[in-house]
Symmetry: C2
């Protein structure tokens, strides 16, 4: 599975609940990783870690449940870098990861250790251990992803996205092998431009999917042309020309064999085989429905 | 004033309450600074910052009042470096300082910023901006200060102390000037071997005190041959041959003109002019008594 943050983590949970979780490998986006206060933060990997280990603040959709904010209060009091919301429990993870990276451990190795410590059964791999950073071009200028997303609250329209470092980025160990070995490649209902595209920007990952033998199924992030959260609908409208299933398909040209769409988008042209279900994964029943649609589609395509 | 951690911070408060606090310059020990989880921690400077700004956990004698420990819980859960007790509020300060140091700011400049943000009136200077680290030699081997003090709970007897980097360490900006300009040099009732000696290990600081024109007064950390807290009494017994006023005086040979001792040690040989009072600074009255003894002695010596 290729996965971004919240949509990715919910979908990962859905699949992990529907199959043997040890059979699931999640390839996570690192394009929105950010250095804050000298700490290496991997928001998408962390949302997946927290979701799959029952630690996510489900109401907020990011960060840890039962979180406190005392460290950041001090940072603000001392006029430090306090724009990126780092909770106390969350900070512990960033400290351990950053310390490990500084000692020369690779992101994939640290991530595996953190996942093990949190009792995760699926494998969680960053797309790459190399530095790959998403930048967005807006009428107000170019920004690193989190500057735009968090600090500017993604208020600027996006005219383009680029992935610094993608040209030299190699897939993290195990990513290409997982794609080649899999009997289903799934793309989560994450933002195609800033969650999935940074994964596909690693050429060897894109190529492994292009030459796949297993079926590939994406879940559309749209429900009635809107996203549950985040700016993917605005970005689809501006960058792909619309917010229908076809525009999602266009993002994954040559990379998917079917698209799972929501009932609310039924009947619209998709340009690919579609499966219709209710795609909101706000509870166990919703997750079961989406997982079932994906797994059955893959079965039918084989 | 030369000051270590808790004894230093209480004495700093005592003097700051007795004179115009803006007239006080505190030169703090950095020999027990430590890198934990990639963070630069300056325990003695922080205890002074917290004490003088009303943020100290007075019961514990270190760290912040109203502290929580969620980040460290995560660190422990992830099998990270959790032996050094870093609270959440405290962490915020270490993050800001470490980030600033990594950007090339000097410790003295960061410390001044932190002190200003916390509303401190006295000037707080680290003895040096250079790397100076206290090591203790024990029957169990040589240890960096915090390894011995915190991780091994200072259970090993100390056969010797050395200060890595002291040979090349220059005084932080303003330290020598403050000594030369002062009309009273005071040495706090801190551990002579691991709180004050690392400051005096910076040759230019020791020399500035040796050639002083102002009177220099130390406060003995002993009350009836014992210290209120910490291993100074055990170290005096083993390294200086006893726990009387004379053994404290011996630590400051050529550097002080008088020693303030506790009533409980009255009558014992000190080898220098002594002033007797009650030296416990557990409340405002205790602080007032000690400050008065020091200030009156200095006045008499001038």
């Amino acid at each position: 599975m290729l996965a971004g943050g919240l949509g990715g983590s919910r979908f990962a949970r859905a699949i992990a609940e529907a199959i043997d979780p040890a059979e699931l490998t999640i390839v996570g986006n690192v394009g929105d990783d950010v250095e804050v206060l000298g700490l290496h933060v991997s928001p998408d990997l962390d949302t997946i870690l927290y979701t799959l280990s029952g630690r996510l603040d489900e109401a907020k959709g990011w960060g840890r449940a039962g979180e406190t904010w005392h460290a950041l209060e001090t940072v603000a009091e001392l006029d430090g870098e306090a724009w990126f919301r780092l909770g106390d429990r969350d900070l512990g993870l960033h400290l351990v990861r950053t310390d490990a990276l500084r000692r020369g451990e690779r992101l994939s190795a640290v991530t595996a250790r953190l996942a093990r410590a949190f009792g995760l059964e699926p494998a969680l791999l960053p797309a790459t251990d190399d530095r790959l950073r998403t930048w967005v071009a807006t009428p107000a200028g170019d920004f690193p992803f989190q500057e735009w997303f968090v600090r500017r609250q993604h208020r600027d329209e996006v005219d383009g996205v680029r992935f610094d470092g993608a040209g030299d980025a190699r897939p993290a160990p195990g990513v290409v092998e997982a794609i080649e070995r899999s009997d289903l490649i799934a793309i989560a209902p994450s933002n195609p431009f800033v969650s999935i595209a940074p994964i596909l920007a690693v050429a060897a990952i894109r190529e492994a999917i292009e030459r796949r033998r297993a079926p590939a199924v994406a879940v559309s992030p749209l429900i009635g042309g809107k996203t549950v959260r985040g700016p993917a609908d605005r970005m689809l409208a501006r960058l792909a020309g619309g917010t229908g299933p076809q525009h999602v398909t266009d993002c994954y040209k040559g990379l998917i064999d079917a698209l799972v769409i929501d009932e609310a988008d039924e009947g619209e042209e998709a340009g690919i085989r579609t499966i219709v279900t209710r795609t909101l994964m706000s509870d166990a029943e919703g997750r079961r429905r989406v997982a079932e649609a994906v797994l059955e589609t893959a079965g039918a395509l084989r």
